[in-house]
Symmetry: C2
Subunit: 327 residues, 2 copies
């Protein structure tokens, strides 16, 4: 396969060409999977470098919540509401439990059927391909692709379940936690630490018994919370299947974005996320350099000396750190 | 508190002084918990360096299995059988779910009552003190303390439950998996990946209904397994509460140790473990150096440039790796 022309792809993605967007995300995914020294790694780095000047504009919104709460439906109607206002929208459906990745999943087409032919919407499924680490690494870069492609809002929806939800949602500027009445969700969510990460609550299926009570309970909790940092977290009732309350949700998302920008919170969150990302890449690089060493100065040689009692593991780590850093 | 005289403590531990052994393990635990630059870290390093020449002799045996299978009782009778042969024994009871650590736990005294006053036995409970990582780091060093103290065999028993069992047992030369009849253990153990890690199986409570069947099933599985690497994993029926079968278990442990030494497997396992340990210490050191940096060349400065679009995260990691390694 010929090496991709990354600057050209980025230019075309910036003009909104869906195929270029899809290709860049694939390059990111493949690069994260590739070993050091592989051409895929070079492509990933080229994509990251070419994207950098064109990112930082999109409002990244994460949606999470227990299974069955209506995340997919909510994402779909949210896309519709944002498109009705003329905004460009990206959707990353992240499924830590699925081995399937790519933009052509049947599930996506069916689920997002009404948006599939809309040129103002980019939809992409991402999956683990065997290790969750890969997903955690690829997702921030995929977000940057959609950002550079001119998306005003990027929705990150976690499919599947697990604590990975919390990690993935940590990529967002604004995190929406969806709950539904009568699912014992309050308790479950509290256990999973999911209440703390919410900037906006949605009580979906608000036409069901108990919905009003769930909304009241949450609003009471949030008022006690006292609006930590100046933001009292809103609770928005919706019936996503009928599109009810979705404009209120859009308004809540915009209000949170405006509040963050006014007090500098969005910048603070983005810096903290970039710190985590840079540190993870650096440590991975050190790990990879360690793996490349061989002979007596390599890991196995040092381990042999530890087993022989000639060296302790802390002394061995000193030698290894010196070798890896070239000192 | 005055700084400890580590070489003196190691000398006293080698002569079998229980208080010196306990103090060294405490220094290890405190050192692992301490931040970089703390005196505790220096003590930990001094202990590791002083121990190195005196380690590598003990046979490290890990015992694991589902809750209720009789791990504590089996450990206790195993201590008795080894002591009856005049061997010195160390016991590390590792409880990833408990916040309590130290040698004076009431539970230990009661449980190991008959051995508590035996000068040929060292018993120590280790717990997480809040993070499992700490336990994973401290345990190999604690094993080295008991090794240097002249223990012929060190038993590592995992108390509590969870996947951490597998990690902790990965410290052992020989891993014993305990099962019991009529607990659906076979399936559970297979799920947890616990069958693969076994070098020796014990079917405890062998006087119960179904025990003979469990033993037959396991032996059949092991014969199909074909003795991977030349070791056909034995299945030893025991009734630990009455001491039955414990001499067979001791014989199986010795046979596994002799087989490992004959084919070089013990050395291979120890080198692999030392590799993991050295790599973990090195990466932690890099992480700590990153945390020490500040200003424009530090993590926050780089993250600010990434957020501003002046730099991509991979370029930032290049700069950070260069700074950390002093190049």
């Amino acid at each position: 396969m010929p090496r991709p022309d990354v600057p050209d792809l980025v230019e075309r993605a910036r003009r909104g060409e869906a195929r270029a967007v899809a290709r860049l995300i694939s390059l990111v995914e493949n690069g994260v999977e590739a070993g050091a020294g592989d051409a895929g790694t070079a492509d990933l780095r080229a994509v990251a470098a070419a994207l950098a000047p064109h990112t930082g504009r999109a409002h990244v919104v994460g949606l999470t919540g227990p299974p069955g709460v209506g995340k997919s439906t909510s994402t779909s109607v949210l896309v519709g509401a944002l498109r009705a206002q003329g905004r460009r929208v990206g959707v990353l459906a992240v499924d830590p439990s699925s081995p399937f990745s790519g933009g052509a999943l049947l599930g996506d087409r069916v689920r997002m059927g009404e948006h599939a032919t809309d040129e103002g919407v980019f939809i992409r499924s991402m999956a683990t391909r065997g290790h969750l680490g890969g997903l955690a690494w690829a997702t921030p870069q995929a977000l940057r692709v959609l950002d550079a492609a001119g998306c005003d809002v990027v929705l990150v929806e976690t499919v599947g379940v697990g604590q990975s939800e919390v990690e993935v949602v940590a990529l967002a500027d604004t995190t929406v936690v969806l709950l539904a009445p009568g699912m014992g969700d309050g308790v479950q969510a509290a256990k999973a630490g999911i209440l703390e990460i919410a900037d906006v609550f949605v009580v979906n299926k608000a036409d069901r018994d108990g919905a009003a009570q769930t909304v009241r309970d949450l609003r009471h909790m949030m008022s006690l919370d006292g609006g930590a940092g100046g933001w009292e977290r809103p609770v928005v009732p919706t019936v996503a299947a009928r599109g009810e309350g979705v404009d209120d949700l859009v308004a809540a998302l915009d209000a949170h974005r405006d509040w963050m920008d006014a007090v500098g919170e969005r910048r603070r969150r983005r810096i903290a996320r970039a710190e985590s990302e840079i540190q993870a890449i650096t440590l991975e690089r050190v790990r990879s350099r360690i793996g490349d060493l061989s002979g007596g100065s390599g890991l196995t040689g040092l381990a042999e000396r530890v087993v022989a009692g000639e060296l302790d593991p802390y002394g061995a780590a000193d030698e290894l750190a010196g070798t890896v850093s070239g000192r």
